[in-house]
């Protein structure tokens, strides 16, 4: 096997930045604007109809062209550079020196649930860990050094004030957990072993929600797994210490992209002073 690395494509200001007209995120926004213009100005209907048919034909053709990953990345960065980076030099100057996020966020690797989108986190706001089913395993220096390193860095070095664990609807990882047969046989190299971090959530759901459909049980498990992860956070001594000192708050959340809703809850942990003898 030969390896050839680094045919470098520098994207300093890569690609043509999109024009202002294309800046709207939503195509529906643009269509609404066009319809508004047509209702205000007479005589443009025929011309507009012809042009829209032309655009549709062009787009249909584009759709059949093979996807160009390099172009996609180039144009994505160009858009960020012109619309965000160059418009906020002071912010990006400060960020280049240091980050001081107030949040550490655990979210699923699922392409539909990035907290930068669903919670509109801006650069510098949230230190993020993304893995299958947004799991926080318990403290284990052999098996889970990745998550441990992220928590250690966020809590001890960045001194984040909040850790939020966000579950979501239709989670493939949770479905996988709920689908593991009762005899525990697994068919994957990693996935089933990983998701079994939240086996206590599955047990709880199977016991308490046995009357619900599989899909309903999965939804409950998505939320219970968040609670298991929150509990696992407390197995890290630096997390416990910060929570008890009240410099760190733990929160659970669930993003439902079927119904477009977001639930948020607190996870409280207190140590009461010992009772007198």
């Amino acid at each position: 096997m030969s390896g050839k690395l680094r045919k470098c494509v520098m994207l300093c200001c890569g690609g043509k930045p999109p024009s202002k007209d294309m800046a709207t995120d939503s195509c529906e926004d643009a269509i609404a604007e066009l319809q508004k213009l047509l209702s205000e100005k007479c005589g443009l209907e025929t011309l507009a109809a012809a042009k829209i048919k032309q655009i549709t034909a062009e787009l249909e053709k584009t759709g059949s062209e093979p996807f160009d990953a390099v172009e996609r990345i180039k144009s994505g960065f160009a858009r960020f550079k012109t619309e965000k980076y160059e418009k906020n030099p002071a912010l990006y100057d400060e960020l280049a020196k240091r980050q001081s996020p107030k949040f550490m966020v655990f979210a699923c690797s699922d392409s539909r649930v990035c907290p930068s989108h669903i919670l509109d986190f801006q650069p510098g706001e949230a230190f993020m860990v993304r893995n299958i089913a947004n799991m926080v395993p318990p403290y284990d220096q052999t098996k889970y050094s990745g998550v441990g390193a992220a928590i250690e860095y966020a809590v001890l070095h960045l001194k984040v004030e909040n850790i939020v664990v966000i579950g979501h609807s239709c989670c493939g990882g949770i479905k996988g957990l709920m689908s593991i047969p009762d005899d525990g046989t697994t068919a994957s190299d990693f996935i089933e072993q990983w998701v079994q971090i939240c086996l206590p959530a599955k047990s709880k759901v199977k016991t308490e929600n046995s009357g619900l459909t599989f899909q309903e049980q999965c939804t409950n498990c998505e939320k219970e797994a968040v609670n298991v992860s929150l509990g696992n956070l407390l197995t890290y001594p630096f997390v416990r210490e910060a929570v008890v000192k009240k410099t760190l708050a733990l929160k659970g959340a669930h993003y439902d992209f079927v119904n477009g809703s977001f639930e948020l809850w607190s996870f409280d942990y207190n140590l009461c002073p010992p009772l007198p003898a």
Binding site: H117, F127, G146, D189, F257
Partner: protein, 260 residues
């Protein structure tokens, strides 16, 4: 150390008070009033994390989710991302932001220093699960590993003492995944400054991660079938640039020898 703007202003005031007599009492009252105002302002602007999360979701719901119902309905049924992206947990380098990925485009794994360790079911099941799911189940077409400037994890790697001792519970053990990259940097750029070596290591570590991807059989199989491409990226937020490179590994489908 440079003086803060407050220190400079206070020095100016003190100079004035020493130059002109009779202003002390008036100045004292004004400063006391300012202190009280600032205390109140500080209290009013105390950060509310619940409010921040609520506002953030409402922003997303009104500006995106509710505006494109057809798009989000389709996405709710299935995801078909074309990318698996590895990026650092650093709050400044979210690929959704920096590369303008929309929901549904990129399956993401974020960890300290955007590391991909080699196949290891005991020690690295987290990353393994992401790769297994993305390549075998979602059949992503591209894997992109993105390094970045001023990476704290790479700095920790470059700062590891030569005798292998660690000084924390997890961080040092995790970044040790990158030791081959560090060794390459120390050997090829031995006369560079520490900062320069860190920058080289940020990029070498991406290349190392790309090589480590090959230790996963589903990655090798997809490469051999030309169904998968590997790419490295480097986001330099100091200079506002993004470097992208392809990793060409010539993997051919296996031939079975000696079967009758």
């Amino acid at each position: 150390m440079a003086k803060s703007s407050t220190e400079v202003a206070i020095e100016g005031l003190k100079r004035l008070l020493s130059d002109k007599e009779g202003l002390d009492d008036v100045a004292a009252v004004k400063i006391e009033k300012l202190t009280a105002e600032l205390q109140e302002q500080d209290h009013e602007e105390e950060f509310d994390p619940v409010r921040r999360i609520k506002d953030g979701f409402i922003h997303f719901k009104t500006h995106h989710f509710d505006k494109c119902p057809a798009y989000y309905k389709k996405l709710a049924e299935e995801q078909h991302p074309k990318f698996l992206v590895f990026a650092c947990s650093d709050s400044r380098v979210s690929p959704s932001y920096v590369l303008n990925f929309k929901p549904g485009e990129a399956f993401m794994c974020r960890n300290i220093a955007n590391m991909v360790p080699a196949f290891n079911q005991l020690r690295y099941s987290g990353v393994g699960a992401v790769i297994e799911y993305a390549v075998k189940h979602l059949e992503v077409e591209n894997i992109l590993v993105i390094g970045h400037s001023r990476c704290g994890g790479i700095k920790a790697l470059m700062s590891l003492p030569a005798d292998g001792t660690t000084s924390n519970d997890f961080i040092d053990d995790w970044v040790k995944i990158g030791l081959p990259a560090k060794a390459k940097v120390e050997s090829e750029w031995s006369h560079a400054t520490f900062e320069e070596k860190c920058e080289h290591c940020e990029k070498e570590s991406v290349d190392l991660s790309l090589v480590n991807l090959l230790s996963y059989p589903y990655v090798r199989a997809a490469l051999a079938n030309k169904a998968l491409k590997l790419m490295g990226g480097y986001y330099d937020f100091v200079n506002g640039t993004f470097g992208l490179w392809k990793a060409d590994f010539d993997i051919k489908p296996e031939i079975i020898i000696g079967s009758s």
